[in-house]
């Protein structure tokens, strides 16, 4: 299915070189957006109503940057970037179509995990076999 994800330990996820760079950019960007918002609010208050439109836009940029930052911090190092793409492609080619197997396999797998389901399926199978079967209570 999906590639096994490898998460860095929390401390390294937040303190890797790349993460520190992300923090630094965010720490500059968000206050920058706040200043820009303030600047536009002042423009708007001094009479140019266009400023109101931009004073909504700048906080949106700050939110976007925060979402991007969060995404980058939580990247799976094994699957990110061009190298990750290549690795995933190799994996996909090595294990082709594992779940296009016969549906019976899927049922068997589900039954193995769930005894109640297995019982119920046996019961249905008995019913399907017809009224001649007298053994449907005894499994």
């Amino acid at each position: 299915m999906t590639a096994p994800t490898r998460r860095l330990p929390v401390d390294r996820r937040w303190t890797s070189r790349r993460a520190l760079l992300c923090h630094a950019v965010l720490v500059v960007w968000v206050p920058g957006c706040t200043l820009a918002t303030w600047w536009q609010v002042n423009i708007a208050r001094s009479g140019d109503s266009l400023g109101w439109i931009y004073s909504v836009m700048w906080p949106c940029f700050a939110v976007f940057a925060t979402v991007l930052w969060w995404n980058l911090i939580h990247d799976d190092p094994d699957t990110v970037g061009a190298r990750g793409l290549r690795r995933l492609q190799q994996q996909a080619e090595a294990t082709p179509h594992e779940d296009e197997a016969a549906p019976d396999d899927a049922i068997a797998r589900a039954e193995a995990e769930d005894a109640e389901l297995a019982d119920y399926n046996a019961y249905l199978a008995e019913l399907r076999r017809g009224p001649d079967s007298k053994t449907w209570r005894r499994r």
Binding site: M1, T2, A3, R18, L50, I53, Y54, M57, C60, F61, F64, V67, L68, N71, L72, T79, V80, G81, A82, G84, L85, L88, Q89, Q91, A92, H97, E98, D99, E100
Partner: protein
Amino acid sequence: MNDAESTGRGVDHRVVARRVLIRYRVMAYTTAVLLIVLVFVGIPLQVFAGQPDVVKVVGTLHGYLYLVYLWVALDLTRKLRVPLGPMLLVLLAGTVPFCAFVAERWLTRRYERSAGPAPDVAVVDQTGR
């Protein structure tokens, strides 16, 4: 990517739904054209002819559509596993005249390479990924 898991059909990571690409391309062209109008029509009109109306309308429109562009560009670049540097360039391309066209070509090529002609693409599109 979560969608791939929820369909449970063993969709591999190469396959990104075509609609993710299409909506990025729509937004790339939209913001690019608006930006060209803004820079090469609106700003000359404002500076040399004293008519700021085009800048006002197209400027705000571009500003907000650029937010949408950012969103769909982030979605596509992450699903295509574009490294951080090129991703930032793609995001910034919406603010430099003509650059969004270049980014759009580059990402489309990258999409075609990653998706390939695999029949999976059609299957995945139908399952509404």
